[in-house]
Symmetry: C2
Subunit: 239 residues, 2 copies
Amino acid sequence: MLNLHALGTPAAARLPASLSPADDAWQSLLGDLGAAELAGLRELALLRRLPAGAPVFGRGDLAAGLFAVLEGAVGLGQAMADAGGFQLERTVRGPAWLDLASAWLPEGHALDARALGPACVAELPLPALRRLMQRHPLLAERLVRALAQQVRELGAVTHDLMHKDAEKRLAAWLLQQARGLTELRLGERKRDIAAQLAITPETLSRMMRQLKLKGLIAVAGYAVQLLDPAGLQALAREE
Amino acid sequence: MLNLHALGTPAAARLPASLSPADDAWQSLLGDLGAAELAGLRELALLRRLPAGAPVFGRGDLAAGLFAVLEGAVGLGQAMADAGGFQLERTVRGPAWLDLASAWLPEGHALDARALGPACVAELPLPALRRLMQRHPLLAERLVRALAQQVRELGAVTHDLMHKDAEKRLAAWLLQQARGLTELRLGERKRDIAAQLAITPETLSRMMRQLKLKGLIAVAGYAVQLLDPAGLQALAREE
DNA sequence: CGAACCCTTGATACGCTTCAACAAGAGTGG
DNA sequence: CCACTCTTGTTGAAGCGTATCAAGGGTTCG
């Protein structure tokens, strides 16, 4: 959803050279901000560059700040008992918020987070951010808006889980990933896509074949063509 | 979750008589606030007293403010084509927030809302609230906290839908409703409870019988006793 | 080359829904 | 007061959707 600026960043050309590369990320996370707000964010953000597989935070850890993925992808899920395993629940592809909510709550983080590839993660420590919010009401409002956006998205996810079967969810997911184009490249392992759709890899494989047989898509490895976007849309719609 | 203050309101005795009855509601929605913030809220809130079945807002309607249920219960779901039908997705039992998010987003409300019984609903118009937030940063922070709480709860719901079967969800729901007590009264039709658990009424009936046969609960109509809360907890836990 | 992944495919099992029938109130009107 | 109808909850039988288990083929990498 917020990945629009990830590739081209046409706005970057117009920004003064003094701005750090993370500034575009803040723009796409919080919308347009004034120079003062950006400077404040840049000053208080703790940037961490992580290798693939590195943990970002753990379930139950006390959250000292807000977390965002600036580059790369981070997985949210549950670490398994055996050290290597990781039951993925959602992947966050930068730039996007990773955990906006936990810092405000006493329970700490709800899930484990670990880098899926090399990634750059920012943490905004809560006390400092709070002060910045008091000086810049615009920033506070933008945070509220970002939280509202997350509420909306999570609500849509629960709705889909309750009312759409696997095929419908896959159709909707393909359309969302394609963002209007008719061709798309799967950016992660199919088993991870399956995890996000709350189905098994086997079922995902079968559903892909179904859509192929129905002439709605063409699949070649990790490249997918949407042959009939309108048909997919109709399929994805409920009832 | 926030219903704790709904019945006893032991704090009410300590408040000056000048405070409107809605003040306790604001306290339980936003936490302790100063007199100035409360006065501001009381001034800008639009209160509506609704008869059973009255619509509160509709899917797609532009949201002009934040909505909260002060008294009674409001259902969130989808109105059916035939005028009477209503596919319930979640019920909000006052005092609790009904829709904190939509006002900040351009898409409007995500679901239809209608009173399930006689209810009292408050709307906080966004422009006025925004001004109030700028004068009272504490209020802004409390709103952020409330949104974070919703993100947390919705995340838990999706997690449960993905990883828990019907029996586990029912066990968890019973424990949550009982709030530590060992006896509880079902406050709504069983089919509505089933809708919230994303199962059919038939399955709910069968699951209740299952739990009864396992000796975990005793059921008599709408009265339920938790005979073995620890056992329920163990059942509700995943794996 | 083998080893370790990943994806696919098939057979089978299980959970839940759907459909149909029935019992138990609550209201209504004769 | 008794039929009559509506609504709700319960129960059973059958069927659909998805998971699970097991096997095979394709890559990549040591």
